[in-house]
Symmetry: D2
């Protein structure tokens, strides 16, 4: 129902061929952390599928939940917090409420005060969307970059692939 495969076929044509790279083939096993992701009624937009905006709410949720559960992030209290400076998503297969999804999380690059996450949205074994999200860790008060806490670094290092 979703245009992706047709699009890629179609884009072999001259005029639009360079518009997007070939679709990724990541599997669930390519993500060291997987988390169930519930859909909601109003995730669906007027065309009957999860709206493109909502995928980023899934990204935000799997990342921050991991940081809370494994990296000791305290939303209200931590002196160093992660601020999003870039995000991106490619939509491969449509999904819709009431689908039950999984969000896969891995870390593509880990700096002193920044991390690049890669997120895959799966419906069973099918990769439906893939994207990335860059956090810069900053001092909560000054909003200047600050080294991420050691516990965050350890938690994120275990997700590097």
């Amino acid at each position: 129902m979703y245009p992706s495969e047709h699009v890629h076929e179609h884009e072999r044509g001259l005029s639009e061929q360079h518009m997007r790279p070939p679709p990724p083939a990541d599997r669930r096993a390519d993500f060291p952390h997987l988390s169930e992701m519930q859909t909601r009624w109003n995730d669906n937009d007027v065309y009957g599928h999860v709206n493109n905006v909502v995928y980023y709410a899934y990204f935000d949720t799997v990342i921050n939940r991991y940081l809370i559960d494994h990296g000791g992030l305290e939303i209200e209290a931590s002196s160093v917090i992660g601020v999003c400076v870039e995000s991106q998503c490619r939509y491969l297969e449509s999904i819709a409420f009431p689908d039950r999804l999984e969000a896969g999380l891995r870390v593509g690059r880990l700096g002193t005060s920044s991390a690049r996450y890669e997120i895959g949205i799966f419906k069973e074994e099918q990769l439906c969307a893939i994207g990335h999200f860059v956090h810069v860790f900053v001092d909560r008060a000054t909003r200047k970059p600050a080294p991420m806490p050691e516990r965050v670094r350890t938690a994120l290092a275990s997700l590097i692939r």
Copy 2:
């Protein structure tokens, strides 16, 4: 308050320098279409600024409103609809409810059945975020790519920069 400028400075350092390209310098005049964008109370997240997810709702809104007003898109009736296959955003300066924003829209590439939009989010003259959004136009019923209607093409062609 937002880490962008500090980050860029910071990223001149060795370890993280290649993480992101230099910040763009687009101005309002670089976007042929500009539309006011209201913020809402719950656009702000727990850190006091518009959540990264919400920018994509601004993107969606400026694009579809343009297609409705200028391209004859009828959400409920058009036989060819635009489906998002990719989106991306870079966050440069923080914004917060109750800021009044403007979304600038231009078209970066126009194919037979696809369009790549570029969107800038401005607070007065300040570029706060910039991103892109790729629509593939599909037959509403089959969801296979279809040439965009002539009226849509004309409307989008006038936004090419």
Copy 3:
């Protein structure tokens, strides 16, 4: 397109007659404060109209914007903040993106540390939804009720009808 008037007719029947009170007849002039409210693409749900949830985002926005503009509320700094303890909405006529709406605001009851707002959502002269929202003002740190600041009280008193 919306069931309200038919419903009310229908509900004159025996079995469902007591389900809801008669539809209100409030006009724009019954609200001392009116504020434009933009719709967004993903306000619409799969049935093609603004989702019932979203109306409460309009309520939140018109109330807090008024408190910021007229009552001196500083989201990040005020020591006394308003917390919602009850909200309600009746949906009378459907609305849909890209409608341009107005939210009317008045105060129905003003206590020492609480206020009951009444909000009407209008499309031109047509009342499309009406609801209420109760704020209890609390100390930001302890979350115990606190008298609302004098400037808030004055601002809200001017909205009593």
Copy 4:
């Protein structure tokens, strides 16, 4: 942290005593259907708790998921659909991402073409919010009230308390 109990105490005072009824004491066992409800990062607003608007997304989700799973509702195809004509919520105890919640669902009144649902939001055994939601079932095309399908009626009848 939430003002409810203090408020009720406080409201024993003269001026605000009649503002709200006493807090309900419903338990999980008072709801014949219970469904897990995940919170998301951006459910939290600037005050650090789930925004009042979001509770209605939980309501929508537990109701429609029940109708799909047990009442045969097909979002894209059913000729009779449920349209919300009224909703209401009382907020008793604050909740916040990443809390794991349960939504309890029961039916308070079942008419020929309408249903009144009652929903409780629980964090473990604690009732955090309670509200109602009225669906009028309508013909998808004409939007006039229509008797709910027999399978929906049966599913909802089993939730009457």
